[in-house]
């Protein structure tokens, strides 16, 4: 008899051990996902933070007659391989615009070459031994320094890593998002109102519902094909423009806005509708004056989340040509533009090593914007959420 007791308790122990193992295993899976997130963000910070620092050289510029013709005469010949060529090239232009400067001298901090910058950050660089010696001497005398990289936030794209900035992409993103929101928000909210408040429950309504759920799961690149074949080739919307990008993204964001608006409308209790109907309101008056204001926080939250999603989208925009090289910052709906994710993609495909840092820096800017958008959505929801 005691034999089987031992057997059973041993069996029980085994079973409980197995049960505990499942708990640890599932906890480990969750931990793994969290660890990945930690790894990912650390990696991005390590790679991207240096992009906000850039090497500058304190240079004496002599605005002589010769410099107006050949900019290389303006600065010390030792510094020519060290200072960024974008800076050197801008000297004759400056002199043409302000001729009274000719004959004067000036000491300024100029952008250093990306090779110098990479060398100072401890990466491999293509500098020759002589140039390295010059850089070391200048660092010792305090004439080469790492400073905050304002170029990155005030300039457009450039083929030279040191003068590439993200501003044109930020402006492009803003323009594109204006178009997206201007189309997707009204249409999405109207669709949701129709489905939730007006539509009879028939085949047609069900078709629309299934269709919306399906649209939400269609690969984003197919929206790009639609944009290319219909918006660009058929309607003749200018390629690469924020207009066509915004329209394409609007169709993609539509299901997100519709679904979240429907949830928000559904959370408004029936009693409010009944009370309004009881006072003699028509259906539209009920919706406009009572249901919609109460659902607005939820609708806004959903729209912000949809906007954040659209902002990070790249694939459809590549198809409609929004990966253009945009050196000048300009706000137009119909000219070629680029957006932040597309800029990241372009920089990621540059072979130069210095662009890896720029890419990661651009990613940090994008992630910061996305995280603050999502956080504001959460705050909005927390602040206005009502339990009925």
């Amino acid at each position: 008899m005691s034999d089987s007791f031992d057997q059973i308790s041993q069996q029980l122990k085994r079973r409980h051990r197995k049960s505990a193992r499942l708990k640890w295993l599932s906890m480990g899976a969750l931990g793994l996902a969290g660890l990945f997130l930690l790894w990912f963000f650390t990696d991005m910070l390590i790679k991207g933070l240096p992009a906000f620092q850039q090497a500058y050289v304190e240079t004496e510029i002599s605005y002589s007659e010769e410099a107006a013709k050949d900019a290389r005469q303006a600065i010390d010949s030792d510094l020519i391989p060290i200072v960024s060529r974008t800076e050197i090239r801008s000297i004759p232009l400056l002199l043409r615009n302000e001729p009274d400067r000719i004959g004067s001298r000036e000491t300024r901090w100029l952008l250093a070459n990306s090779e110098v910058d990479q060398y100072l950050k401890g990466h491999r660089s293509k500098l020759s031994d002589k140039e390295i010696a010059t850089v070391e001497r200048l660092v010792a005398s305090g004439q080469v320094e790492q400073k905050f990289n304002s170029t990155f936030f005030t300039q457009g794209d450039s083929k030279r890593a040191e003068s590439a900035g993200i501003l044109s992409a930020v402006v492009g993103t803003i323009m594109t998002m204006i178009v997206t929101l201007a189309i997707a928000f009204p249409i999405g909210v109207m669709t949701a109102i129709y489905l939730e408040e007006f539509a009879p429950d028939n085949r047609f309504t069900q078709l629309i519902e299934i269709n919306i759920n399906n649209l939400a799961a269609i690969p984003s690149i197919l929206f790009g094909l639609l944009g290319l074949a219909i918006f660009i080739n058929f309607f003749g919307v200018p390629r690469s423009s924020p207009l066509v990008g915004g329209m394409t993204l609007a169709l993609m964001t539509l299901p997100v806005i519709i679904i979240s608006t429907r949830t928000a409308l559904r959370s408004v209790p029936e009693s409010i509708r009944h009370a309004a109907f009881g006072l003699g309101c028509s259906r539209w008056q009920v919706v406009k004056d009572h249901v919609l204001p109460l659902a607005m926080p939820g609708i806004m939250t959903g729209s912000i989340i949809g906007l954040a999603q659209a902002m990070g989208e790249t694939a459809p925009l590549i198809i409609v040509g929004m990966v253009a090289f945009i050196p000048d910052v300009g706000a137009s709906f119909t000219n070629a533009a680029t957006v932040m994710p597309a800029q990241i993609f372009t920089w990621a495909s540059e072979p130069e090593k210095a662009f890896v840092e720029k890419t990661a820096g651009g990613i940090l800017v994008l992630l910061t914007i996305l995280i603050s958008l999502n956080a504001s959505a959460v705050v909005l929801r927390k602040k206005f959420e009502r339990r009925w």
Binding site: R15, P219, I221, L225, A229, I258, L370, N374
Partner: protein, 417 residues
């Protein structure tokens, strides 16, 4: 073009003025009628809004429909005529709107009807979007299949569009171009398989932990943190896979004496899998929570341990939901573009070795549409044929997923899934 813009501006301002006239004339007429003592169905403002609607509505409708028809027929009619026609309609609408201001006219009901139609029209846009996608990919693929046989596309094992580029440029006859999509689909399924091998176990286990074990405090933190994984833009994941993960995979493979390409399929697969985890965990979590507690109680009452209950009762009951979530995740992985564009290879490669470089359907779509090519070339059109297959596959996965989740919902009478 500039002239059209100016015309449009003039049109809009005239329409605005007409609308304002309609509003004020309608309102004053209604107010006068009411002041004269007749009892009316609606408020003066409602009559005024009806007049505005009857002025602007038909005019805008005529304008847009007309422009669309002109574009469709390719007719060369100056936009001036179209816009003036629509202004005439607006004037007529204004007259009708003002005449309709009568005591026995139900202005509020009329507005209601118009609004209902406008809202239904907005709802139709989503249908149009699906049709738009379908039409664009079907028409262009048909043109592609006129050039290359469908059978070759489905069964061919060589994807070599290079020569078709020459043919489109007027050099060569394009006979060298081969569009056999098997290697592309093999690559796509390989990367998707790797992604699912990562995402399904981790996603399901996380869901089990969150719904069955985790204290509610941890749950409220863990759920949004997992959602962050889904919110990171795919271009960022692509960069991460190419720059950070791929070299690690190469090093690990090298440690075992294996030769791995820097564009191997494992790196994008693993990163894609991590991206999909929240899709699977979030839906699975909801489904596991929806499994009725009576089943857990029954199992525990029979002497099962908690682990056995979860493994043998809860998860099997939730299985349709879990499968449905996995299918959704799979359709997401098949259509994912940026991660593979940045981290996977460009070379169509029919192989079972995930350490080699291989390309996917979406990579070839992007490659075909970003080069400087004539739109008519077979390579450009092949992107649409690939898109068509992608659409068909993801659509069927989504539909099966919807059906599975509906079955689950009906079985356990859950409403909020």
């Amino acid at each position: 073009m500039m002239q059209t813009n100016q015309l449009l501006l003039i049109f809009c301002s005239v329409l605005l003025i007409l609308g304002l006239i309609a509003f004020f004339v309608g309102r004053s007429k209604a107010a006068r009628l009411r002041a004269s003592g007749s009892s009316m169905y609606a408020q003066p403002d409602q009559y005024a809004w009806f007049a505005v609607l009857s002025t602007a509505g038909p005019a805008v409708l005529v304008g847009t429909l007309g422009a669309f028809v002109l574009l469709l027929l390719g007719a060369e009619i100056h936009p001036l005529y179209l816009l003036s026609a629509s202004l005439v309609v607006a004037a007529a609408g204004l007259a009708v709107g003002v005449v309709q201001v009568r005591a026995d006219f139900h202005a509020r009901k009329a507005i209601e009807r118009v609004i209902r139609w406008v809202l239904a029209g907005a709802a139709l846009i989503s249908i149009f979007t699906t049709f738009g996608i379908l039409i664009s990919i079907i028409f262009e693929s048909l043109r592609f299949f006129e050039m290359h046989s469908f059978w070759e596309f489905i069964t061919g094992t060589t994807w070599n569009p290079g020569a078709s580029f020459l043919a489109a440029a007027g050099r060569g006859d394009g006979s060298g171009a081969q569009f056999g999509s098997v290697p592309l689909f093999a690559g796509t399924f390989m990367i998707t398989l790797i992604a699912m091998l990562v995402a399904v176990p981790i996603g399901l286990a996380s869901a089990v932990y969150m719904s069955e074990y985790a204290p509610s405090k941890l749950r409220t933190i863990a759920k949004p943190v997992l959602e962050v994984l889904a919110g990171i833009p795919t271009v960022v994941y692509g960069f991460f896979a190419a720059i950070t993960v791929a070299p690690i995979i190469v090093n690990i493979a090298g440690f075992f004496g294996l030769d791995a390409s820097y564009n191997n399929a494992v790196a994008p697969g693993v990163v894609m899998g991590i991206m999909i985890i929240p899709f699977i965990s979030s839906l699975s979590d909801d489904v596991i929570n929806a499994v009725p507690d009576s089943m857990r109680q029954g199992s525990l009452a029979l002497g099962m341990t908690k682990g056995e209950t979860i493994r043998d009762v809860v998860v099997p009951a939730a299985l349709p939901g879990v499968i449905s979530a996995s299918l959704l995740g799979m359709s997401r992985a098949l259509g994912e573009t940026m991660i593979v564009v940045m981290a996977a290879g460009m070379r169509p490669n029919l192989t079972a070795n995930p350490l080699e470089d291989m390309t996917t359907v979406t990579v070839r779509i992007v490659a075909a549409l970003t080069g400087d090519q004539e739109f008519e070339s077979a390579e450009t059109l092949s992107a649409f044929a690939l898109g068509l297959v992608l659409f068909a596959v993801t659509l069927s996965l989504n539909l099966v997923s919807v059906i599975m989740i509906r079955r689950f919902r009906e079985k356990y009478r859950v409403n909020n899934l």
